[in-house]
Subunit: 350 residues, 2 copies
């Protein structure tokens, strides 16, 4: 599949991406985090959150809205919690730092809970949840942005399609990873439909008049997954992130405050240490057995197999590690532009 | 509405319920928790989790499966976390205790995270999340049971429709409360359809052959809310509760272990202290403004108003506090039976 696309070896792509962000003013460590988060998303097939974002990020830096060397400060700290002001740092830069600190705290008191205010696009939230799982912990990552999703029963945006990621370690199996938006479909899937010139299913989005639409170009407001369940989670995720950071993102838009719709994110990332509660090796085995059992269930009509959350992404990951990451022409052009701008050679093969 | 049903004053019903559980062997404090959780559910209109459960609970006690004076033990403890072995204590008895301790820890280090193993039916999880909100904290409560819900793409049960409740305090408004199962419809709603002899919508449940059904009597397996999102959350909730307690509830059923399907629950209840992060009065006001803004959105076609999670239950609560809790004949009979068995006079008016 995707053989008509140019493929690039992932390490070379990451090296290039890191070099671009260093030239854009990131610290070497910050550029490493930024590149790793983006290329990880590409490896897993989540291309909407991969290197195609480079141009957008560079634009945010150029406008001064994203600060590559922001004054990230810990505003409040306890043995178990952190409140971090990101000062408009790139999402991966501050969130990798925050999750590392949450993991340290979890190692010490069983849980670390870090609230982050005023960061920018964090990429795929699963990355941070996985950081905890890699350390033998459960990882949780939640984010909120200004509204883009209709609360159940409304025909205008009132919540963000706030994603949540939860990840725990297995043994034989890859970490069990849920990484989901609270909308029926992520915005990226609608963008893909626009690019392909195909319709979207009814139930994904509303147009600007609040009417259901199948035209991806007319899709203005996302619809929540599971009706009031998705939008209820999203509303409470704003309360667990933005309100804990005293930095509301929903209400200022309702109130028409200037600049309220400008992109920025608040977030919470948490780690819960398994060994504090129980035997880690046994936990891993128990996690494997859930996967084994669910996969052995009889498939529903129309399904060939039962897949667990993250499984399809893990397959893409394995394939792309071997065969390279396929890049559509538009994404390739963005890399060429960055290469020219900063005088950085393109990854081998491009 | 419901004027044909017998109504009982809620305090009298609670007093009666408490007396029943004391006679059944609960401590006075345990009986108080049990009665308060049940009658709170009735007040909010969640009658499936109210006093109609008395007979079932008494049966569990009679069989020795539920221990009114269980040997509840704290197995592990840090400044932020707890692992509690409930020893088959009634859900409210151990969970009220666990949330109180989580709140204490949150007051001290910003968060308290309590994992509970081997309890029985905890009732409406929102009750425990609300305990934290009442103390100026965010409350989170999650529970897992043996499987009753098909994972997305499967036609047999593989996860539980694990509910999650999240609650934060408002100021003018009632606490913002989400209390949702991860299935499309709770089992209780299907039971109501059986009682009424009406069909259930397609998409709620499968029959024992794994085929979609609209017959509530044939409904054997629940379907997850939002497809893989609901069942993904449910799978990870097992990992955050049962696996942290070294007490898996899903895999033993897959493996056909004897007794694996017997009702029991593992759970996590957590409190996050708002004042540790920010100004509580400001937080409350910010929470109010989310409610105000969402309620002011234009309703979607087919809706008269936009309601926020918990709002309808709050209205029922206010009405039933004033006018009493309506009891259907079947529930009334259960109260009469308990009254006779223990020689406790029925609440006034019954």
């Amino acid at each position: 599949m995707e053989t008509s696309l140019t493929r690039v070896e992932w390490r070379a792509l990451k090296q290039f991406t890191k070099a671009v962000f260093e030239k854009a003013g990131f610290t070497p460590e910050g550029a490493e985090s930024q590149a790793d988060v983006l290329v990880w998303a590409n490896l897993r097939g989540v291309d909407s959150h991969g290197v195609q974002r480079i141009a957008w990020y560079l634009g945010l830096v150029d406008k001064g809205h994203m600060k590559p060397r922001a004054n990230i400060r810990i505003l409040k700290e306890t043995p178990a919690t952190l409140l971090i002001d990101a000062d408009y740092a790139p999402g991966p830069v501050v969130t990798v730092m925050a999750m590392r600190k949450a993991i340290e705290k979890a190692r010490s008191v069983g849980i670390g809970w870090a609230v982050i205010k005023n960061t920018l696009h964090q990429g795929a939230m699963g990355y941070y949840a996985l950081m905890a799982a890699t350390e033998g912990m459960a990882g949780i990552a939640i984010v909120c942005n200004p509204p883009n999703t209709a609360p159940h029963g409304a025909r205008a945006a009132g919540v963000h399609n706030s994603p949540i990621a939860i990840c725990v370690p297995g043994q034989r199996h890859q970490p069990l990873m849920l990484d989901m938006a609270t909308s029926v479909a992520a915005r990226g899937k609608i963008d893909v439909a626009v690019d392909r010139g195909i319709a979207i299913p009814l139930g994904w989005a509303l147009d600007t008049d609040g009417k259901p639409t199948t035209d991806p170009k007319a899709a203005a407001v996302l619809l929540p997954a599971g009706g009031g369940k998705g939008s209820g989670l999203a509303m409470l995720f704003e309360c667990l992130t933005s309100l804990f950071a005293a930095n509301p993102l929903l209400a200022p838009v309702f109130q028409g405050k200037p600049g309220a719709s400008v992109h920025r994110q608040n977030s919470v990332v948490a780690a819960v240490d398994i060994a504090t509660f129980t035997d880690l090796a046994q936990y891993r085995q128990n996690a494997d057995e859930i996967v084994d059992g669910i996969k052995a269930l009889p498939p529903a009509e129309g399904f060939n197999e039962v897949v667990v959350p993250g499984e399809l992404e893990n397959r893409v990951h394995a394939e792309r590690e071997r065969s390279g990451i396929p890049l559509p022409a538009g994404t390739l052009q963005k890399l060429v532009d960055a290469s020219k701008r900063f005088g950085i050679p393109l990854p081998a093969g491009l």
